[in-house]
């Protein structure tokens, strides 16, 4: 629309079970690589780990906080903050923004998490309750609260404007990116970093998820007939975003544009999704982007491989896209990364940006036989080259919290 500010992406950073930086992550997605393995819980009695009914997950491998993180206090933080700080460092390095930022109050840092510093709190409470220590850890509070990652990153780059974390389960990162997009578009800030981080593969968390009975003992097979639940993962995905004119003025290399954001809630049930909420979020994102359904070339689905989500999402996509469904390429990258929970929207937004830049649709792996009720083009097993002008990313969370983003090519 005329006169409106436009929001562009100038940096991306990721720490994932299939790559601890964006290029490795994207190569792995193109190759159809899976991050699945037996969960190894560090410093944890193997006898207890052996008792877990579900032993698989997608963990970040070979991540060294000392190598990736400069700030000493951040090095002592929870693993979830480590991922966020490392991802932010990659994103800012790519953006080539001068830091500390020049107009600090005109910048924002919105980095959320579904569960925050779960590893810290579990360890600290186990010490407190089982060994009668006088306190968990003097830094426990700073490490476990869901705002630590945002605070650490804000400190690293001198961000003095809005700095906080979003919390909306699997929609956390998408909400963070969407809010920053709105703040820049509405003129509140000119630049910022947004996304989310999650590291919730602790013993207690695995037990808690198992008790909900939604995890698969076999793997994450979105849209597949054999799908039987999701697989937990950890990691972080963040993007540096700025006002288009701000980016052009400093000669920034623009990766993509954030064109639209929609958020709508089911207001119905804590676990069973409605059709209406996801439909409305997708519709709003398209309207905000000023696009028609046929303008979307690639849709990165929420695709968690639960019985309910995949069929509901299929129906919602069909109803929003109508006749344009035929030419839409869809895939769930959770088939490779697993479900990064709060951080999933962050890494999936980055997958959309890379898909646009590279003209490539990553596959839904493990899709040997599709569920007849999931009848869209889910790019089974092997990714493909396709000219992608616009991409959409869906995130539909527990409690019916839906957030959808639309990305377009660099306007420059």
């Amino acid at each position: 629309m005329c006169g409106q500010r436009r929001v562009v992406v100038t940096g991306t950073g990721a720490v994932t079970p299939i790559g601890n930086d964006v290029e490795t992550f994207w190569s792995s997605l193109k190759e159809g690589k899976s991050g699945l393995g037996t969960v190894e819980i560090k410093d944890f009695p193997q006898e207890l780990a052996n008792e877990l009914q579900i032993k698989i997950g997608c963990q970040v491998k070979d991540f060294d906080p000392k190598a990736r993180i400069k700030n000493r206090l951040a090095q002592l933080a929870d693993r979830y903050s480590h991922f966020a700080v490392a991802a932010a460092a990659e994103a800012f390095a790519q953006s080539k923004l001068e830091t500390p930022l020049k107009n600090p109050y005109r910048s924002a840092c919105i980095i959320g998490s579904g569960a925050g510093g779960l590893n810290t709190i579990e360890y600290a409470y186990s010490q407190l309750f089982t060994t009668n220590r006088r306190a968990g850890d003097p830094l426990m509070l700073l490490k476990f609260i869901g705002s630590s990652a945002a605070a650490h990153v804000g400190i690293d780059y001198g961000i003095k404007g809005p700095t906080f974390g979003t919390v909306s389960a699997c929609a956390t990162a998408s909400h963070a990116i969407g809010l920053l997009y709105q703040y820049i578009k509405n003129g509140m800030v000119d630049v910022g970093v947004a996304g989310a981080s999650e590291s919730a593969l602790s013993y207690g968390s695995m037990k808690a998820w198992q008790a909900m009975r939604v995890l698969s003992p076999d793997g994450c097979f979105p849209f597949s007939k054999k799908r039987n639940g999701t697989v937990l993962a950890e990691g972080a995905g963040v993007m540096v975003m700025e006002d288009l004119e701000h980016a052009k003025a400093r000669g920034a290399n623009i990766l993509a544009e954030v064109k639209g954001f929609g958020m709508a809630s089911d207001a119905k049930d804590m676990v069973n999704p409605t059709l209406e909420g996801p439909q409305e979020a997708m519709r709003q994102a398209l309207e905000d982007a000023g696009l028609a359904p046929c303008d979307i070339d690639y849709l990165n689905a929420h695709g968690t491989a639960t019985k309910l989500n995949d069929v509901n999402e299929t129906r919602a996509i069909r109803s929003v896209f109508g006749n344009a469904t035929g030419k839409l390429a869809v895939s769930s990258t959770k088939s490779m990364t697993g479900h990064l929970l709060g951080a999933s929207g962050g890494v999936e937004a980055i997958a959309c940006v890379k898909a646009i830049q590279d003209g490539f649709v990553p596959a839904t792996i493990g899709l040997t036989e599709a569920d007849p009720e999931c009848d869209l083009d889910y790019t089974p097993n092997v990714g493909r080259a396709k000219r992608i002008t616009h991409a959409m990313s869906n995130s539909f969370a527990f409690g019916g919290l839906n957030a959808v983003l639309v990305f377009g090519p660099s306007p420059a």
């Binding site: 009975r213 939604v214 003992p217 039987n228 639940g229 069973n272 019985k307």
Partner: protein, 100 residues
Amino acid sequence: MDDVAIKIIDILKRHMKNPRDDITLETPLLDLEIESLDLAMIVFDVEDTFGIEIPYNANEEEVGDFKTVGSVTDRVRMLVEAKAAKAAGGEAEGAALQGA
């Protein structure tokens, strides 16, 4: 109704919105207005009460798949017996090793 059935009906009543006193083995589970989250909590309680592990996956089975209260008690009874057999087998093995 045996001890297993009585305990299970108790657990079901604890997790129902409107607990009924007329639940029998023939009562269809769907009649009890149990939703998927209730089922997760019921399974958890049953596991605790009987010291067993129930391999239940919400993606593969729904409330409706259990049909009746009787089918739930049958499943639990099977798991309790399997657990006892495993323990007895272990003891017998241990005794045999000691004897040898």
